[in-house]
Amino acid sequence: MIGERLSFQIGLILPSVLVLLLFQVVPIFIGTDASFRRWSLYDPDKTWVGLEHYRYVLSDTNFLFTVLPNTFLLIVASVGLSLALGMAVALLLHRGIAAQRLVQTVVLLPLMIGPVIASTMMRWTFNDQFGVVNAFLGWLGLGQPAWLADRWYAFGVIVFTDVWIWTPWFALLLLAGLKSLPKEPFEAAALDAAGRWRIFTHITVPMLRPVIGVCVVIRAIDCFRTFDQVWLLTGGGPARSTEVFSIYVFMEAFQNLNFARGSAAAVIGTLIIMVAGLALYALINRFMDVSR
């Protein structure tokens, strides 16, 4: 017999557990199973082929030298820049500026309108012939690059779009963090006649470290699965040079119509981000302990 207390606990989580099992855990098992088989129309038996697909993906130069570096570069660039910019916006809002509510509303907008609309507008803004960015550059007499036709320009636009979307998230969470800090250390520093920059680096940042750490870990893990921005801005092009992990899986499964190979890539990516996520979490935890 299970106790009344335990049965209450089970009852509380049962709906969530069922949904998670049916629509995430079972598909993950099916996908993992498929990654060891030949999955095509002319092979109805779905013959077991062992690690063949894994061998393919792990020896695919595109996956190793374009997709994975792109994915991690996007994480570093996007998280780093949105954190820096988000901190600047948070400090600005924390100072108490004129038109505070207007600024807060505008800053919130990118997060609310979502990546699909954001990427659509960025693709138009950075259009090589008719985009506003190139019109402005032309007016300044500068060069007008074909933004989405060159690997690094296109990657830059992807990073810019991601930073545009996620800076508000960092700004809001850091602002909440700033508001919850005690005032005394700042008053003491002011009495000690410390400069603004020193106050920022010696008091604000160390005290905000837990918030910064949590934000960075969450955002870095989520950034690994980025799909919408890249798909809508470049589709992984030109010539598959801006593909990231999720796009690679999608292309293998739906463009090359090789579901099993796509699944193998998906399993590899999942393992990578789990290890990376755990390492990141441990690192940040340690980092925060040291600072305390």
Binding site: Q9, L12, P15, D192, S246, F250, G277
Partner: protein
């Protein structure tokens, strides 16, 4: 101590900002604020202006003064657009109600109990939140296909509820952590069952926070793209995928695409303007 020695004799370490005169400081702040406003507002303004330009004027949106609402009319004349808005509205609403309903008890359990079961559940949530969406949506596509759920309302709804289970349970735990459980104990002493204490005491107290999360959940589902791209087709058009399809052999119909994007943006703008307090509360982690 350093506090005691702080006198006017100490030179004040000054940065560039402090060397500026008050007037210049104000100018600097105005400039910074304007830069932030421009950065976050300009792409949206460009989109709105594009949606108001006639088809032939769209390529030089910064020239010419012809404005028209014809794009909006034309977009709505396409049956699929109306259908897509309707479907997205339905999916977003149903997914929000269901995922809140499923996770509110799970978050309560995580917050109020200690032991092996909550610990195991919390770890599972943590692990499954890390799994990239494509890694389970890709096989889910095969599952849906074989069950005849591909391109159906239920198929896409299930994915949306599933994706929220981990994250929402975690957030809801935070909500309940902020509520003092002593009222629930009091209710149980007065004869309430555990379920009664949850339903009559804890649930109403967490109400505002749950509403805040609900608003965000609705918007996230409304804006979602990957699930819609993989799990739906022509029978169940959703707005994000329909919007991405304004591409013809002649190129992208930017004026129509923008008109649809502006309309898809309306809920987000309304929520940002009128429910900002809730949004900020719901975004806490």
């Amino acid at each position: 101590m350093s506090l005691a020695s702080s006198g006017s004799s100490l030179p004040r370490r000054t940065g560039l900002f402090d060397m500026l005169r008050p007037g210049a400081r104000a100018a600097f702040m105005t400039l910074a604020v304007s830069a932030v406003l421009l950065l976050f507002l300009a792409p949206i303004i460009i989109l709105v202006v594009t949606s108001l330009r006639p088809g032939w004027g769209v390529y030089y949106i910064y020239r010419g003064t012809e404005f028209t609402l014809a794009n909006y009319v034309e977009v709505f004349q396409r049956g699929v657009v109306i259908e897509a808005f309707f479907n997205s509205f339905l999916v977003a609403t149903a997914a929000t109600v269901l995922s809140l309903g499923v996770t509110v008890t799970s978050g309560y359990m995580l917050s109020r109990f200690k032991g092996w079961l909550p610990k195991t559940w919390f770890t599972s949530i943590y692990v499954f939140r890390t799994v990239p969406y494509i890694s389970w949506v890709l096989p889910l596509y095969v599952v849906n296909e074989s069950l005849g759920l591909y391109d159906t309302f239920f198929g896409i709804l299930a994915a949306h509820v599933a994706v929220h289970v981990c994250f929402f349970s975690w957030i809801m735990k935070g909500f309940f952590d902020g509520i003092d459980p002593s009222m629930e104990y009091a209710a149980m002493i007065d004869g309430c069952t555990r379920w009664g204490a949850f339903r009559r005491v804890a649930l109403p107290a967490a109400g505002p926070a749950i509403a805040a999360l609900g608003i965000l959940s609705w918007l996230w589902t409304w804006n979602e793209f990957l699930f819609a791209l993989i799990l739906t087709g022509n029978r169940t058009p959703l707005l994000t995928v329909t919007m991405a399809q304004f591409v013809t052999e002649l190129g992208t119909e930017w004026n129509l695409m923008s008109a649809m994007a502006v309309m898809a943006m309306i809920p987000a703008v309304i929520i940002t303007l009128f429910a900002q307090k809730y949004v900020i509360q719901g975004l806490r982690i």
